[in-house]
Amino acid sequence: MAIPVKSLKAQKHQFANPAFQLDVLQHASTEEGEFPFFGTRLDEHGLFPLRPTGATILQVNVGKMCNQTCRHCHVDAGPDRKEIMTRETMQLCLDALAQYPQLTTVDLTGGAPEMNPDFRWFVERLSALGRQIIVRCNLTIILANKKYHDLPLFFKEHQVQVVSSLPYFSASRTDAQRGDGVFEKSIKALQLLNEVGYGQEGSGLQLDLVYNPSGAFLPAGQKSLEAEFKRRLQTGYGVVFNNLFCITNLPVSRYLDYLIESGNYSRYMEKLVNAFNPVAAANVMCRNTISVGWDGFLYDCDFNQMLELKVQTGAPQHIRDFHLGRLDQRAIMLNQHCYGCTAGAGSSCGGETT
């Protein structure tokens, strides 16, 4: 299936509308009927309403602009997306972080976060605050334009933890998800990161890869897949990395569109629902993370952000009103896509949760 070059939003596609997506999610069913509400499953295990365990991670989505239009992207990111976090909003994030040292980690995502014109300004200030910085780098951005070629050195200078998507160790499956030629460019970018020390033993420069299935199936066995990825990337391309994070694709935006279009939607939802794991449910990342949108609004996670499900009414809604104590009292907003984070060994931006 060819990857469309335009975002769903630019296509004026119905799945660009979060309300439509939520309607589809709420009415997922099989021959036996609709699936139980996610909150009901949590309730059976004493986890409803779902409360934070105390935020330690501020995940900041600095914009939806990206040089790729991946088939599974829950952000519907792409070159035609213009939503970008301003320096003023970044400053509000810095103010919140300065006020709350318990937010030890800042996780920068997008789009391709590096395409935000104030990305480096932001990273330099985060670095000065002494926080652990994660950048979710799509790899190809490093080669996309001369101005990005020095990103590996910039990351190194600020001890950034680089977390990069590589859905498979072969071109066919990677390109089917992320676009023609992406595998080859990703390998080249990984080699450049390795050259400055990333992923090398003893360097202290952490390079982690993200595996998410290129299709309508779940990831399995993070440890076993990591060993296979390490073997294939080392022997095939001389690439080394630290950890592989297995992430389940959540039925949101383009991945939801893919599931419907390919006739896999009900079967995939059934898989997620049947694989509900209460241990994974207790460890979901929204319990220790607060997500900030490009316009400064606050969410429980990046998926809720894309579905426009802001944090519970009554809790601070915008980064300018950030108050960790009040946010930690909120109930987390749930919907049927949440089954994606509780299936099997669980899924989070850091991989398995059990």
């Binding site: 021959e31 498979y168 160790f169 072969s170 066919s172 499956r173 595996y211 299935p213 299709g215 199936f217 779940l218 990831p219 399995a220 066995g221 076993s224 897949l225 296979e228 990825f229």
Partner: protein, 111 residues
């Protein structure tokens, strides 16, 4: 009754076979689970073997289940097709090796 012998929806009812003989059903599924755990072989290798055997025994339920399982376990398309060729080679070889029996019989019966 169904109009076809195989209904894809029956795969997820596999566990129901325990209804008529719970003890044997339980023993079978315990054994089944144990077999597919990581041991001297990885779970991925076992899934590939299961995929090959599924083709050899021509079980559509098993082919469905172990194609998904191989993908989930990180096997690639080349490995999966090679596994099917192993099954085909054994099936074909099993037919052909009987050609020796045929040749023996020819010798026995002809001048």
């Amino acid at each position: 009754m169904e109009n076809t012998y195989y209904n894809p929806a029956d795969l997820k009812k596999f566990g129901n076979i325990s209804e008529l003989q719970p003890e044997m059903g339980r023993k079978f599924f315990d054994y089944y689970g144990e077999v597919f755990k990581e041991g001297a072989l990885t779970e991925r290798e076992k899934a590939l073997i299961a995929l090959a055997v599924s083709h050899a025994v021509q079980c559509p339920y098993c082919i469905d289940a172990y194609t998904s399982d191989c993908l989930e376990k990180g096997a690639d398309e080349n490995q999966m097709m090679e596994a099917v060729h192993v099954a085909a080679a054994i099936k074909g070889g099993a037919a052909l090796v009987h050609g020796v029996q045929m040749m023996n019989k020819i010798k026995e019966l002809t001048m």
